[in-house]
Amino acid sequence: MSANNSSGLPQVSDRLAYNAMRNWRERLIEGLLLAAAAVSVLTTLGIVYVLVSESVHFFAKVSIVDFLTDTQWTPLFDDAHFGIMVLISGTLVSSFVALAVAIPMGTIIAIYLSEFADSRVREVAKPILELLGGIPTIVFGYFALLVVTPILQTIFPSLPGFSLLSAGLVMGIMIVPYVASLSEDAMRAVPMSMREGAYAMGSTKLYTAIHVVVPAAVSGLAASYILGISRAVGETMILAVAAGMQPNLTWNPMEQAATITSYIVQVALGDLPHGSIGYQTIFAAGLTLLMITLLFNILGQWLRAKYREAY
């Protein structure tokens, strides 16, 4: 940087001058990025607003105590009851069945892909696995109804044509790729030096995977499980098709039952007048669903913060 200006370079003082154009452009881009981020935040807020404002009308007619404690859900009958537990039980039982499949299977697949499979197997298996997550849920729903239910009926002859068990099992298979893929990412992020440390102590692959890699990846595993739970609680089509839509307060997966989501589909397909109590149940049920997923998300955040591993 010479003081000699004959080379045509501007003087130093000019080169350091405030570049108004560049600054303006930066701000514009920042604004665009903010707007993009705002779309998703505002959408969420909009959904919450609609759910809450419509639910307020609903709870003006039905007390919260009745809503939470009544054991019948018959909003369209003359003798209307609004016991949301009926729908929550269906949601929880089907989710439990699904997670009993998805969490162990997803974790085992992730351990295999991350710790045992050689890279060629992984490069083929992982995309195929993720493809499974791309199958439309309506296809899974009919798979449950037409393939899995008849198979289950040969084992359990008393199983009805619609059941939480069948829908839950298939829902679990649908969720496996999400759990497996995210868990595998979490385990692969564990640094190789930690595995080498374990191998150098004379551990086998399995011992290393279970005692070193899994504990090191626990916050990522928790995140994948939470995503799995959210998927299960929010899943609609498989349940609407294969679990029956009969409101039924039960904790037995061998029965048929409606879930919050399948109830919403059922009612939304009918022709309820806007503003009627039946119409407003959709929003009360939706709000309940939102609260359940929110609860699990908060739990997940808390678990991640608690077990966050710095390596």
Partner: protein, 259 residues
């Protein structure tokens, strides 16, 4: 240094070659490792010293495409560590390793040290307590951690973590301890503590240490090997290597003309 006594052999590389796929990383290495002595491997980056070190506990078996040729004889039983019928897990049961960067497991201090014992099937609380304490004392970290054995190991400082890793390796009474540049991620004070520890440890265990710090090699080792481009250029007693190296290349390296 009491090098006038006749040292016994603990291990010996014989015509050792090593390949990463097609690339030959070690070229016909012949070298003794003496029992209860510290042997240092020095040489410029990429000379193969870590590759050589990691052959002793068969770490290369973890990655596909690696191949050994020749032998590393291990005494007193005179087995070839590299033989196909030798189980690398059994090798690692007898040969411990401390890495360049401290790599404690995501467990408590106690469980880190107990890890190797648990791998070997030891679950008796009294035995574990005893051996963990002994190993932590051996690694000169007992006084610093004895009141917080249940804390996560990741809460320790870098130097403490490295001594914890040494304790972890010591807990299972290895016959040979491999150090792969154990102080390169540590500050001078922590480095001093590790070097002192190595001095103490050689009373009970044979040590092979890779270092790119020549002063460190001079300070801690009884024997030194200079490696260059995958070859063992010179091996000898540390004071001889540093005072009157026989090979021109060794001399260039230790006098700083190359490296």
């Amino acid at each position: 240094m009491q090098i006038h006594d006749n040292p016994t052999l603990k291990a010996e590389a014989r015509n050792l070659n090593f390949f990463y796929g097609e690339a030959k990383a070690l070229k016909n290495i012949n070298m003794p490792i003496y029992d209860k002595k510290v042997t240092a491997l020095i040489g410029p980056s990429g000379c193969g010293k870590s590759t050589y070190l990691r052959s002793f506990n068969r770490m290369h078996d973890l990655y596909p495409g690696n191949r050994y040729e020749g032998e590393i004889r291990f005494f007193p039983d005179n087995t070839n560590l590299l033989a196909a019928e030798v189980d690398p897990i059994e090798v690692r049961m007898r040969i411990g390793m401390v890495f360049q960067k401290p790599n404690p497991f995501p467990k408590s201090i106690f469980e880190n040290v107990a890890y190797g014992l648990r791998v070997r099937g030891e679950n008796n609380k009294r035995v574990l307590d005893d051996k963990v304490e002994h190993a932590l004392k051996g690694a000169a970290i007992w006084d610093e951690v004895k009141d917080r054995l249940a804390d996560l190991a990741s809460n320790l400082s870098g130097g403490q973590q490295q001594r914890l890793c040494i304790a972890r390796a010591l807990a299972t009474d290895p016959e040979l301890l491999l150090f792969d540049e154990p102080t390169s991620a540590l500050d001078p004070i922590a480095t001093g503590a590790i070097e002192e520890l190595i001095h103490e440890l050689k009373k009970r265990v044979t040590i092979l240490i890779v270092t790119h710090n020549m002063q460190q090699a001079a300070r801690v080792s009884d024997y030194t090997a200079y490696m260059f481009l995958g070859e063992m250029v010179e091996f000898g007693k540390t004071d001889e290597i540093f005072i009157k190296p026989k090979d021109k290349r060794t001399e260039d390296y230790i006098t700083g003309r190359m490296g």
